[in-house]
């Protein structure tokens, strides 16, 4: 009843040809399992939600329609800075490029 090994190997070879797999009767480690793995980079890289639109984009979108939108936080910030400047308490001006380039 025992089937000879050569016959089994023939069957295996035919199987491999049919299903387009590699014929490897000794079970040698060819590293094919690495090639079979799917790439998971795109899935991993899309974990955090990306920035879709900024307020600037939103403003630009409505510019052709001549509609102006004010960003409240930004207006508040500019007002605050103006108030500081009026009292002479604002941040100092940036140094010139020429002065800084002398340093290493």
């Amino acid at each position: 009843m025992a089937v000879p090994r050569a016959r089994l190997l023939d069957l295996m070879r035919a199987q491999c040809e049919l299903f387009a797999t590699t014929f490897n009767p000794e079970g040698v480690r060819t590293g094919n399992k690495i090639l079979r793995q799917r790439l998971r980079g795109p899935a991993l890289a899309s974990y955090y939600p990306r920035k879709v639109m900024t307020f600037r984009d939103f403003q630009d979108e409505f510019k052709p329609l001549e509609l102006e939108i004010e960003e409240e936080g930004e207006v508040d910030r500019l007002e605050h800075i103006a108030a500081l400047k009026a009292r002479g308490k604002s941040a100092p001006k940036k140094k010139r490029e020429a002065n800084t380039s002398k340093k290493k």
Partner: protein, 113 residues
């Protein structure tokens, strides 16, 4: 490492340096994945000459650590926490509870029987 960081912030969720770092690692891994898999294939293939495999091993270990998948860790997109994250919702357990109780997560409701 700043060379992997995006020049302009491209995240729409809660951001702190840990999240930015993790995001950079994810993008670095995505960019280097094909190369890593090719090297891994050479290393695992016993039919190749031992010298080639050793060189591939060295190259793999000398790639930047940001391109390693083990560097990636899931973080909470609402608070940046690194522990107790529910992967399905990308949130830490406390943030998940708050959002779920507020009804912001579709299909989730408090169990009671």
């Amino acid at each position: 490492m700043s060379m992997f960081r995006a020049k302009k912030l491209d995240l729409g969720c809660f951001t702190n340096i840990k999240i930015i770092r993790d995001h950079s690692k994810r993008k670095a891994y995505e960019a280097a994945e094909a190369e890593r898999q090719a090297l891994r294939y050479i290393v695992r293939n016993t039919t190749l000459p031992p010298r080639t495999r050793a060189i591939a091993q060295l190259q793999l270990t000398q790639m930047h650590c940001y391109t390693r998948p083990t560097q990636i860790r899931n973080r909470c997109i609402l608070g940046g926490k690194g522990r107790g994250i529910l992967g399905d919702f990308k949130m830490s357990r406390f943030n998940f509870r708050m959002q779920a109780l507020a009804g912001n997560i579709p299909g989730v409701k408090k169990a009671s029987w």
